[in-house]
């Protein structure tokens, strides 16, 4: 109920402010990905992803003044292609998904940095802790799809430190790179 109310307020604020079209992130057709990578022993990268999430963005096709994005992640859907490791990542050594089942990003401001580069400022809630983060993003493309819809896609990366969100860092100081690839279908 509370979530819906917040959603309605955000939607009202945005629709009141602009004519930016709403795009639903195409998780149904799996044309969106939230990947992560972190160092393994300093010798290599361990990569994985979150399989379950949803989100939407608002974009008018021209400027980013009224653009906005929000993404909700089901933390228990973490998948690093190893059941025992994923079990550990879901445990209270890491994400503690029983206590913190969702993570969420909501942008507050999107700044064009020239050269097609975007700086997506916003708040990220992970492990029950909300912090300001910046995602370095870019538009990949937009246009009509072959099935009567209209799509736009963006990708972005950001780096977070587990301790900044109150996580334990059982492996020692740990930063994680998050890679987002989102394709939205215009409503």
């Amino acid at each position: 109920m509370k979530k819906r109310l917040i959603g309605a307020i955000i939607a009202a604020a945005i629709s009141g402010a602009s004519q930016a079209a709403e795009y639903v992130i195409d998780t149904k057709g799996a044309h969106a990905f939230i990947n992560f990578k972190t160092s393994h022993l300093g010798v290599s990268w361990l990569t994985g992803r979150f399989n379950t999430f949803d989100g939407r963005f608002f974009y008018d096709g021209k400027s980013y003044e009224n653009a906005k994005i929000e993404v909700n992640i089901d933390t228990s859907s973490i998948d690093s292609n190893h059941a025992e490791r994923d079990k550990h990542l879901r445990s209270d050594d890491f994400l503690n998904v029983a206590k913190h089942p969702t993570a969420k990003f909501v942008s507050s401001k999107i700044v064009e940095k020239g050269d097609g580069k975007l700086e997506v400022q916003g708040v990220f809630t992970l492990y029950g802790t909300t912090k300001d983060i910046v995602i370095d993003a870019q538009k990949i493309g937009e246009g009509k799809d072959p099935w009567g819809g209209y799509r736009a896609g963006f990708s972005g990366t950001t780096e977070i430190r587990l301790a900044d969100f109150g996580m334990k860092e059982v492996l020692g100081p740990t930063t994680v790179m998050l890679d987002l690839h989102v394709e939205g279908i215009r409503k």
């Binding site: 228990s76 292609n81 190893h82 059941a83 025992e84 994923d86 079990k87 059982v170 492996l171």
Partner: protein, 179 residues
């Protein structure tokens, strides 16, 4: 070698004591290894030994059950109620052992990987049977192990009670097959 109506044969005796040592060892190993630091020397070795031993224990339990049903069992000692309780407790011991073995298998094989047994052979995976398999099987594995240890304690107390208070044969016949 075989049981009689009064004694256990040495096969049953050996199966019992090997199981006892292995089960308690596996519990201790499991208890200790889940809190190991990632950079510990044992971080990979301890689970490897735990799983390898567990797989072999499962084979031993199956053989033990087969041996049990194809052999006579020495008659139980005690009054009717004690015999009834003992039968139920023994059945639960076996069920918990099987449950712990199966859930252990389900944790490690949830992603299609098999279980390497002492670099000797790999027990194949049958994939995921249900959603959140590793997590659910992990919880059942953990609590079934605690329950088993509780029951083992009861089992030991009962054996000692028979030996020291009732002064009967219950413990002695599990130590030697001379009648």
């Amino acid at each position: 070698m075989k049981n009689t109506t009064h004694t256990y044969g040495w096969v049953a005796i050996a199966l019992h004591w090997v199981s006892a040592v292995v089960v308690i060892g596996l519990f201790a190993c499991g208890w200790w290894m889940v809190d190991l630091n990632y950079y510990s020397d044992w971080y990979k070795t301890a689970p490897f030994l735990h799983k390898s031993t567990g797989v072999l224990l499962f084979g031993l339990i199956l053989f033990r059950l087969m041996w049990k049903v194809t052999n006579v069992s020495p008659s139980k000692i005690g009054n009717a109620l004690e015999k009834r309780v003992a039968s139920i407790a023994h059945a639960i011991l076996y069920l918990l052992l099987l449950l712990i073995c199966i859930t252990g298998y389900l944790i490690s094989t949830a992603d299609g990987r098999g279980i390497e047994v002492f670099s000797w052979f790999t027990l194949p995976s049958f994939g995921a049977w249900f959603d959140k398999q590793a997590d659910i099987a992990g919880l059942v594995h953990q609590y079934a192990a605690y329950a088993l240890m509780g029951l083992v304690l009861l089992h030991v107390i009962a054996a000692l009670k028979h030996h020291f208070i009732n002064k009967d044969n219950t413990l002695k016949r599990m130590l030697s097959n001379r009648s």
